[in-house]
């Protein structure tokens, strides 16, 4: 009988330890995923001045958009909290998306090798941001579910703090479809 209880107790302890380790792993993975998004966002910030410098001579009618891109970039690099930073990054994504959409209207730009290389770099950066964002949200979803599910919710309360994390959501500005004029 004694052995039976010892085995049951050992199983429970092992189970609790495995849940705790899983919570830690998810938390570390979510922090790592966020830092990966950060790396890609910084890469985009570094590309923007180069892009504006290259295209401003060609895109005479888009000076307003180009200025807004630089302003949004300054806002994003200067933001403190995550919410305002996400909003600023969303603005940049929306404005860059608009620029890429009207790129086709400037055939001289397409003949410029530097501009085409920059376009490729921006495309890949935007894609990487999208993928890392998706990966981050997947990790957060698993983490939040683990915190709320039974019996891991008890483990998280006992050995906390394990706080629920916020998803990287798309602000309204980015969702606006760029208007392409011909």
């Amino acid at each position: 009988m004694m052995w039976f209880f010892l085995i049951v107790l050992a199983s429970v302890v092992l189970y609790v330890v495995s849940i705790y380790n899983k919570l830690i792993r998810y938390r570390v993975e979510s922090e790592n995923s966020w830092s990966q998004i950060d790396v890609q966002l910084k890469r985009r910030h570094d590309l923007i001045p180069n892009l504006v410098e290259t295209v401003k001579g060609y895109m005479q009618f888009e000076k307003d958009t180009l200025t807004k891109v630089m302003d949004a970039r300054a806002k994003a690099t200067g933001s403190g909290d995550m919410q305002s930073r996400m909003k600023a990054e969303g603005e940049i994504s929306g404005l860059l998306g608009r620029l890429m959409a009207i790129w086709e209207n400037y055939p001289d730009l397409k003949a410029n090798k530097n501009a085409m290389q920059l376009q490729e770099e921006l495309t890949t950066t935007e894609n990487r941001i999208g993928y890392t964002r998706g990966h981050y949200n997947d990790v957060i979803a698993n983490y939040n579910a683990l915190i709320e599910q039974f019996p891991s919710n008890h483990v998280s309360r006992m050995f906390g703090p394990f706080q629920k994390k916020v998803f990287f959501e798309i602000p309204e500005v980015e969702k606006e479809v760029p208007k392409v004029k011909f």
Partner: protein, 551 residues
């Protein structure tokens, strides 16, 4: 491009494939354990009546010991097998690292980095097989180093979204651990192979036949060989089934990752229409290519025998699923593919060769030339202080004072002029962008030195257009090669400008009949094309492809 999904969704397909694969893998392990037990039991029983009674009367104890031995043997074999590193596997496939200076490779590298971001697997090495065929693969060694590879033909023929879909498929294989699964299963097959060779080695049995105790063992030898063969056969059959399920799983994961089933369908369609490349595939790795490299009629068949021998499901079945998800059909895909554009590069028609201004140059107390600006770029005896005189006027100026020549000197300083010299003219070769990559060009004889892999890139890519006159000239030249004895170039065998090894004159292929010079050094393998030969090869290959497409 996002489409709403029908009844069989990507998630359903993924879950089904995962479930089936788990069941099949457990089945493989059971088959392995059962056959190992059987072989062990027969061997022990043949060794004497004590062992026979042990097997029969203490069956469960014997079973536990035999399974433990099977497990131990498997683990040891696996640990020894996994020592093969990623570099060894890639060398066997003939894959080389991507070149950041190549425009096509740069896009591929970016897409692989995107796959790293999507999967969380870091780093994934992007590699390229210098083959004009179309295929892609992913591989992981026992030390968790991963690589995704494509052929030059794939890079040349797919656009960015199609290439993204293909890379997503390969990344999905890495996420699912298919390479490790392939290693584990080929490890089990390897154990059966060793047992088979053990039961057929005549020397061992000659020695055993001298001992009295093993008469029964010798008699049972054919049966033991049969057991090992049967075990291998059944394991291989189940692995083929797993492999085909894994392809569907990877397709579903890829669509989930890139959210673009239409591009994936187009990519798969394009690859399936093309020559898949003939390169040496290590045992057990054929399943990791997007389509089987060693194409056979059975690949597209359905039924028991086709399933027995094919690692990949029929392309038609895969396309059907993808087209359902993309809400399209083959006719629409064929129509849309007529307007294909390649990865990131605009097609440029051949520029009409403008007459560039020529100059006489005062070298070593005499006037020489006329030289074109590009020739002047190559001649290191002409410096900014050299006196030059344009053909168009009599004005003598220093070379550095001419605007055009000054730009060339600046280019020379930025090392566009290479250290290698033309094997015929002995002037420095100049790095020239061509078809998204670089050749080392001689501005005097118009010859090109191509480093290993560059010729396959140039053949696969079609950025450069040729005029109707040029195509006609080359076709006429080819006809004459067949009718008359080819004119042999009496220039002596040249030495490789890169490694100074002897180069051999070889036919590029029976199709083109162009004679090129190939470096005999296995670590170099550079190719020298005399003036016009590179364009001839391109024109003849493109015309042959057009003719095949019409049929």
């Amino acid at each position: 491009m996002i489409h709403s999904l029908p009844a069989e969704t990507v998630l359903d397909a993924r879950e089904q494939a995962e479930r089936t694969t788990r069941v099949l893998f457990v089945l493989i392990l059971i088959i392995y354990a059962v056959f190992f037990n059987l072989i062990f039991a027969v061997v022990l029983a043949c060794l004497g009546k004590h062992f026979y009674f042990f097997v029969v009367k203490k069956f469960w104890l014997f079973n536990t010991i035999a399974t433990a031995v099977a497990f131990f043997t498997g683990v040891v074999h696996f640990l020894l097998a996994r020592k093969r590193s990623l570099n060894e596997i890639l060398n066997q496939l003939g894959a080389i690292s991507s070149d950041k200076s190549d425009e096509y490779h740069k896009v591929f590298i970016n897409i692989v980095h995107e796959a790293e971001a999507a999967t969380g697997i870091r780093p994934i090495l992007p590699v390229v097989i210098p083959s004009a065929g179309c295929n892609a693969f992913s591989v992981e060694d026992g030390f968790h180093s991963s690589a995704i590879g494509v052929t030059e033909g794939t890079l040349a023929r797919l656009d960015r979204s199609e290439l993204t879909a293909v890379v997503s498929h390969e990344a999905a294989h890495l996420v699912s651990g298919d390479s490790r699964l392939a290693t584990t299963v080929s490890n089990i097959l390897g154990i059966f192979d060793r047992l088979r060779s053990l039961f057929t080695k005549s020397k061992l049995w000659q020695v055993l036949s001298r001992t009295k105790a093993s008469v029964f063992l010798i008699l049972a030898r054919p049966f033991l060989w049969f057991l090992a063969t049967l075990g291998r056969f059944i394991t291989n059959f189940i692995y083929m089934a797993i492999s085909r399920k894994r392809e569907f799983l990877a397709d579903a994961n890829a669509v989930d990752m890139c959210k673009d089933p239409l591009s994936f369908a187009e990519a798969l369609y394009k690859i399936s229409q093309r020559y898949r490349g003939s390169f040496d595939v290590p045992k057990g790795f054929a399943s990791l290519f997007i389509l089987t490299p060693q194409i056979s009629r059975l690949d597209e068949e359905r039924g028991f025998f086709a399933n027995l021998f094919s690692t990949h499901p029929p392309v038609a079945d895969r396309l059907k699923k993808l087209m359902t998800w993309a809400k399209t059909d083959v006719i629409t895909i064929k129509r849309d593919l007529k307007n294909v554009s390649t990865v990131g590069i605009e097609k440029n028609l051949i520029e009409t060769k403008e007459e560039s201004p020529k100059f006489f140059a005062h070298i070593k107390e005499k006037w020489e030339g006329p030289f074109t600006p590009l020739q002047i770029l190559a001649l290191d005896t002409i410096k900014p202080s050299t006196f030059v005189c344009s053909v168009n006027d009599d004005k003598i100026v220093r070379a550095g004072d001419d605007e055009l020549l000054l730009q060339l000197f600046i280019k020379r300083m930025s090392s566009v002029v290479s250290q290698n010299r033309c094997p015929r003219c002995n002037v420095p070769l100049v790095e020239m962008p061509y078809e998204g990559t670089f050749t080392l060009h001689c501005n005097f004889c118009a010859g090109d030195l191509l480093k290993y892999g560059v010729l396959e890139k140039v053949i696969a890519r079609k950025d450069k257009g040729f005029s109707a006159g040029e195509i006609e000239n080359v076709k006429t030249w080819r006809k004459l090669q067949r009718v008359n004895i080819p004119v042999i170039d009496n220039f002596p065998n040249i030495r490789c400008p890169i490694c100074n090894t002897q180069m051999a004159m070889v036919f590029h292929s029976m199709l083109t009949g162009v004679i090129i010079d190939r470096c005999l050094n296995k670590n170099c393998r550079a190719v020298w094309c005399a003036g016009g030969e590179l364009e001839k090869i391109q024109i003849l290959v493109e015309e042959a492809e057009k003719a095949a497409a019409v049929k």
